[in-house]
Symmetry: C2
Subunit: 528 residues, 2 copies
């Protein structure tokens, strides 16, 4: 058979050759929507490769991007990766300290940014002498994109390097220690793309119009940029306006059929639909990931005949671990009976070896009951962190995800908790996620955080912190009754407290560290 | 990223782990239908690997199979390939001379056969001293499958070799010279599988029930065995009974949703449906390949709400070159306007670089008009033939398919002819396929063969040979009128002759060589 290295420039070449006129719609910071064809994106990407080479960038060098989802960000990805450099996506929600640490750790020579992040980059530059130049994506004058690309050709000889070369770099903030980098290779991203295109995963074809709300700086933007190019689908990029009204406007105006993002985004879109009585255009499928999706979101989209599918993954998995259109056995169930399966995190596709193990590393049965550490092996799973000497894998080559959960007989994986968030009460493990999901099914609850708090008798007991929705007057009694109906008796939190706000980390997930510190002695004091 | 070699044992492991109970239905030579789960197939495949190793088979050794589509043939594939040996699928329709040539050329140490081919193998053995043992798949006594597997374990350590190792071997009969072998690798078969799973190609998921009518000895059985395992779909294997009644029985009984095969098979199924007034159960999609699909077949299946999709490929391409669900632009057309696109051979998916070139090797425009040699490059395209020193590619790494055709602005490729079958008449190229397809749209025509015959004035002129359908009394005038309405005037054959039979080659395609010889002087004599 021929040698045909799996490199991601194949995707943009395919899109530009066979779906040349298919547009990418992109909303800029001021709110205007522009359109550029796949052919145009390829042209810009090629000019960028030349410009980078002219700047002295060599294959393997790291180039940062600090930008929301926009068409020039897409062109930057392909231009950087196509010439063999490594695209390091920077998360603007990281702290200044984290950002300067990872820029220096990666040694990013250039950074491509949205203009809105200029003040942030100005702060960082003094800490990051490695940065040689900052190029403003949405700026065409000095220091801007067009100026940087000006005069460069449209025919860069992409690829022609080993498929195991690095293509992308993404750091996880982690909860302890310094951020850790995951270096994606061309091969891992190519194979991840083929995996998620499958009908049973994201199910994408040339007829789809795909709006990734998940930012491109989150672990390959869940892979949707590559996937859309690989099939020549139209992309719709929302920029920085992620409110319900702005997203609905794009969905309707651009004919979006598929979208993907975290639950809070969908709460905002659903609230907008409810308030205005509008409908979500041609939208057919919503992929929810990044945090567990509530039953309320699934049922709300059901009313609009929009199918919600759960996706679970992490930066270290490129990032999709499980996804899944319901199996035939599940599709044969009634709508209500399907809900538990749709609330599960999904199934593993070919390319992802998935297992749960006990504390001795012994594989546990896939019975839907046994709870164990979720471990993964596969073609798009981290082997070791960037610039780390230690492998990130166990002796069998499995990566421990840090999540714990179950796998049932149909292959559905359910996350019951992050390993570190499990509440260990009197020998029983209580899932903080279960408590939160059920509390958030109450419309009066906007955000819920369950934590384990030291307890004189039970070692730990759950404590639930709730942030009320606007205008909500939900009471502790209502929540307690709701939870009592849904959870085992010993899983119902001893205390339910209403707070003004719940802290979020850089990736939009609840940050439980300060909560644990603040409420550390809560039950101890109660017991006194 | 982790090292995770792309080997085809991943497919059967995935199916057996996550879709353990999904059955493979298989019809044996006597007509009985048996069922075995993916888990059972994996078990047998593993026992086979052990048995092969016990026999002294080493990775890289060739093992032949001479069998129709059946569950033990599937287990044999995975057992042979999983342990690193190479599965050489033998086409029973080859001549004895061809078969003994390729068995010796490949040096097949063992051969797994259907019992019906025992007389054939008895004839071959004296010519093929390389064969050490013949195992009868549908025989459980001495010399049979169960006896061979007896006592062997269920836990063979598959894979663990380079993904570029050979996995399968298939010879093309060719029209001149000795048959040529194409050695598939684990990597090429893995990537081909991921390519055809895509929604825009075969679109297969766990919910599908797949009946490959295309025999497994035809170029990976179009890839459907691997594809079904990779998603855990149910397989339905028709054995040697490919008549309309038998296929319909399987479709209805086993709930087949997707099937694939050559046009003649579908004519037989459609005739059965028409005669009996029955309907094709849950069948949703029919993939047609191996020969051009007529408009009549597409329209006949339309009546049953079954979608026909064209697939084009060849042994050298693993074998799918083009396929394709209609693009959004084509779907927006009326039903009648879509027909020309559905008659086209399809689009290229990511992984297949497709182009047409003129006689100087210069790429021709994709305008739907320019006719050129069809060339392909990709991850599952032959590099050189088995045991050949000469590369099978041009300087750009493209493989010349021997087909000529056009590519239109939507990316649809249309085969106008085999390069050797093109009729060169007075400086114009006439497509023999165009003539045949249009003639076969008449229900009174069962088979049509157009050939170029020497002509004193025009160099060559088309001559059309027709075999009437049973009970048909179609006349030359009717066909001439039909063709005159559909073809350019100069493309209408000078002579239209009815014959009792039209010779077919080993792969079921019309063999034009004897026809050309017989009718060589037809127009010369006419001109005298």
């Amino acid at each position: 058979m021929q040698s045909w290295p799996l490199t991601v420039d194949r995707f943009i070449d395919h899109a530009a050759r066979w779906h040349a006129d298919v547009p990418i719609a992109s909303r800029n910071h001021e709110g205007a929507i522009t359109h550029m064809s796949w052919e145009g994106v390829r042209r810009d990407a090629s000019r960028l490769s030349h410009a980078l080479a002219a700047h002295g960038i060599m294959p393997g060098d790291r180039i940062g991007t600090l930008a929301m989802n926009g068409v020039r960000h897409v062109a930057a990805w392909f231009g950087i990766m196509g010439m063999g450099a490594i695209c390091h996506t920077l998360n603007p929600r990281f702290s200044d300290e984290q950002l300067s640490y990872i820029i220096n750790h990666a040694a990013d020579r250039l950074i491509f940014i949205d203009r809105q992040f200029l003040p942030l980059v100005d702060r960082l530059r003094s800490q990051c002498p490695v940065i040689e130049r900052v190029v403003v994506l949405d700026g065409d004058g000095g220091g801007g994109w067009e100026r940087f690309l000006n005069g460069h050709g449209e025919d860069y000889p992409w690829g022609r390097f080993d498929e195991n070369s690095g293509s992308g770099l993404c750091y996880t903030s982690g909860t302890t220690g310094a951020p850790k980098g995951v270096l994606y290779t061309h091969r891992s991203n190519y194979l991840h793309t083929m995996m998620i295109l499958q009908p049973d995963s994201f199910n994408l074809g040339a007829g789809d119009i795909v709006m990734p709300v998940v930012p491109m700086f989150h672990a390959n933007g869940w892979g949707l940029i590559f996937a859309a190019a690989a099939v020549g689908a139209k992309l719709v990029l929302p920029g920085s306006r992620l409110d319900g009204a702005s997203l609905h406007d794009l969905i309707e105006r651009e004919g979006v059929t598929v979208t993907a993002g975290v639950p809070t985004v969908w709460l905002s879109l659903l609230a907008y639909l409810k308030d205005t009585g509008k409908r979500p255009g041609k939208l057919k499928r919503v992929f929810v990931g990044g945090a567990a999706c509530s039953e309320a979101i699934i049922r709300a989209f059901d009313q609009y005949c929009v199918e919600v599918q759960h996706v679970w993954g992490m930066t270290e998995l490129s990032p999709v671990g499980t996804s899944g259109r319901p199996t035939p056995e599940v599709q044969a169930l009634s709508h209500d009976e399907q809900i538990p399966y749709r609330l599960a995190q999904g199934r593993s596709m070919i390319g992802v070896d998935l297992r749960i193990v006990d504390e001795q590393g012994k594989e546990l049965p896939r019975d839907g009951k046994s709870v164990g550490a979720i471990q993964i092996r596969g073609h798009s799973v981290v082997g070791r962190y960037y610039r780390s000497d230690a492998p990130a894998l166990d002796a069998d080559g499995f990566f421990d995800t840090g999540d714990v959960g179950t796998i049932d007989a149909h292959g559905y994986m359910r996350i019951t908790d992050r390993a570190k968030d499990v509440i260990k009460s009197g020998g029983e493990w209580i899932s903080s996620v279960d408590i939160e999901i059920n509390a958030m099914n109450h419309p009066g609850v906007e955000l819920a955080a369950a934590i384990g708090v030291l307890h004189p008798k039970w070692n730990e007991r759950p404590l639930l912190l709730l942030k009320r929705s606007v205008n909500s007057d939900v009471t502790e009694e209502e929540i307690r009754e709701l939870l009592s109906n849904r959870l085992a008796r010993w899983a119902v939190p001893d205390a339910i407290l209403f707070v003004d706000d719940i802290p979020l980390g850089a990736t939009g997930k609840i940050d439980k560290k300060p909560l644990r510190a603040r409420y550390r002695d809560y039950y101890g004091k109660q017991g006194e």
